[in-house]
């Protein structure tokens, strides 16, 4: 069976969930060969093997952390040349998309970004995308070269599928461009202890209706009762009430959880673009005419400061 390259997103060897989802999709089109780069790359092997990687190609060098994007493109290209895969799959993070796009130019292949599903087809993998703020679903293929496809988080289940996962060192020679953009400092984001926004099964978001940074405690309390991630509309972020890294929407994160709870959010098209594919949508808004109510499975017209705390209490008491 043809091999499929899977680019591994990991933090010091801890594989992030979207990569495991990619392995599920990769197995539909071929045998997954994982590519893990940077500090802790080899530590990813056990997890990747459990989820279907037949091989894990690893490389570590200071360049991966010290310079932006290009060293990783060089490495992925080296893997591509070593394996001659049937497709290359990359998680749809901002960096993942840039890596994939530059690789596609180099290997003269077409690229599809932000797929939400992938199936094998007669003429190569068929990718499903959700476009125009999720108003349309398209199915596309790559017609030239080796398909390079980036896939959004929460697009497939994580499945156990034990495979060999043999670790092999990948030899990479860096291009002249590799050291073009220096990373002069890096400040890791502080962990909140809550699930990652794009990976969470439940997201609880607050908007302008939350009316103040201190009031976000109400949203956080509900999130914590449900084990959820916290999101925010751009209005709430622009007002400085919540960090931009938690923004949901066109210019923030795109989420697709099992349950999305919007409080004090009107439901502007740019916000919908980032949450419309959520399985179940719930909203609390005091304006019965708010467009968010067009999307909901369940909506409560009311003051979020009454409804949300009551809901939180109820969740806590039901969970015991």
């Amino acid at each position: 069976m043809a091999e499929v390259l899977v680019y591994v997103d990991h933090v010091d060897g801890a594989v992030r969930k979207p990569t495991l989802e990619l392995l599920t999709l990769a197995r539909r089109v071929g045998e997954p060969v994982a590519v893990a780069l940077g500090a802790g790359a080899a530590d990813t092997a056990a997890t990747l093997a459990e989820h279907g990687a037949v091989k894990v190609l690893t490389a570590d060098a200071p360049e991966f952390a010290d310079y932006l994007v290009v060293p990783k493109v060089d490495a992925l290209q080296a893997a591509y040349e070593a394996v001659s895969p049937a497709a290359v799959l990359v998680p749809s993070s901002a960096e993942g998309k840039e890596i994939a796009a530059r690789l596609a130019v180099r290997i003269k292949s077409g690229i599809i970004t932000d797929a939400v599903d992938l199936e094998a087809g007669d003429e190569g993998p068929v990718a499903t995308q959700s476009v125009f703020a999720a108003a349309f679903t398209t199915k596309s293929r790559i017609t030239r070269g080796t398909p390079v496809i980036t896939v959004k988080p929460n697009s497939a289940p994580v499945e156990a599928a034990p495979a060999a996962g043999a670790v092999e060192a990948l030899s990479v020679s860096f291009s002249e461009q590799a050291t073009g953009t220096k990373v002069t400092s890096r400040t890791p984001r502080e962990s909140t202890g809550r699930p990652e926004l794009t990976e969470a099964a439940i997201v609880v978001s607050g908007g302008r209706g939350v009316n103040g940074a201190e009031n976000f405690a109400v949203i956080e309390a509900l999130a914590d009762s449900l084990g959820a991630a916290v999101g925010a509309s751009r209005a709430a972020v622009d007002a400085g009430w919540y960090p931009h890294s938690n923004q949901v929407g066109q210019t923030g994160k795109s989420v697709s959880p099992q349950l999305y709870i919007a409080s004090g959010i009107s439901g502007a098209i740019q916000h919908r673009a980032g949450m419309q594919t959520s399985k179940t949508i719930v909203a609390i808004n005091k304006d019965a005419e708010a467009p968010i109510f067009d999307l909901v499975d369940y909506g409560v017209v009311g003051d979020l400061f009454e409804v949300v705390p009551q809901l939180t209490e109820e969740v806590k008491s039901r969970k015991g």
């Binding site: 933090v11 932006l68 690229i111 349309f136 398209t138 002069t184 400092s185 890096r186 409804v307 039901r318």
Partner: protein
């Protein structure tokens, strides 16, 4: 030495309009009003600020690849304060994908001459967000993308990139390709004076011949990807909406329990 800045701006269908596909599965541009992509206004704004910081010793060219109407986007950028514009327009460009568009932009940028290219973080219709990285690859210059803060001094561009897991400070020598996010600072409104001045600013038109690009390299036929189908997402089935009369939170909990979320 004057700093030559090229800003890539896209003319897009209004996101608040009813966007859909044409029969050939390209974006239908006829039924929805077009405008300068809001996310590219941030790129124009940062170009203007860089020029101001360089005591005006810079020249800003705005560049678009798009249909006749795309001139509106150029006009808007000129009225914000850009100096001149380049419009690449050719019937053979209809249906071009990101690989073709980036080829055309790269050739046009080289022809114009540049020290710094500034793009938006993503187009509001295609939303791929990969074009700036591809441009850097094609031009063979550093990529300094997704910046929330940017400055240029002594031939060096610096900026802050807020990534998924960390915030990074980046630095590269010019020439370089930059893209800026909507966190980089509110874009200015064109002044009346700016709007009047824009009418007299030069707009150069280029076609594929001018850029030595063959028709087969672009357009729907030259695309490296193919959309096989586009279906409208079925409207979500109308949900239950209740008015809070003191029990709203409890009713919601009941619904969530029914769905096995609690």
């Amino acid at each position: 030495m004057s700093l030559r800045i090229v800003v890539c701006v896209k003319y897009v269908p209004d996101a608040t309009g009813d966007r859909h596909f044409a029969e050939d599965l390209t974006v239908d541009r006829d039924d929805v009003d077009g405008l300068l992509s809001e996310l590219d206004e941030y790129a124009v704004e940062q170009a203007l600020q860089i020029k101001e910081a360089a005591d005006d010793d810079a020249e800003i060219t705005v560049l678009t690849v798009g249909p006749e109407d795309a001139k509106d986007a150029l006009r808007k950028a000129l009225s914000m304060g850009a100096d001149k514009a380049v419009h690449v327009e050719d019937d053979d460009l209809h249906g071009t994908d990101v690989m073709g568009t980036s080829l055309v932009l790269a050739k046009a940028i080289e022809k114009t001459g540049y020290d710094l290219v500034i793009a938006g973080m993503a187009s509001t219709d295609g939303t791929m967000g990969v074009l700036p990285a591809i441009l850097a690859e094609r031009l063979g210059v550093p990529q300094v993308t997704l910046l929330s803060e940017v400055s240029v001094e002594d031939g060096t561009v610096k900026g802050r990139r807020d990534g998924d897991s960390a915030s990074e400070q980046l630095e590269a020598s010019l020439p370089a390709v930059v893209s800026v996010t909507d966190q980089s600072g509110e874009a200015r409104y064109p002044s009346f004076k700016g709007i009047m001045a824009a009418k007299k600013k030069p707009v150069e038109s280029l076609d594929l011949d001018d850029l030595d690009i063959e028709a087969e390299e672009v357009g729907l036929e030259g695309a490296w990807t193919k959309v096989d189908s586009a279906t409208e997402r079925p409207a979500r089935t109308a949900g239950t909406i209740v008015k809070d009369e003191g029990e709203g939170g409890k009713q919601l909990a009941e619904f969530l329990a029914g769905q096995k979320f609690i």
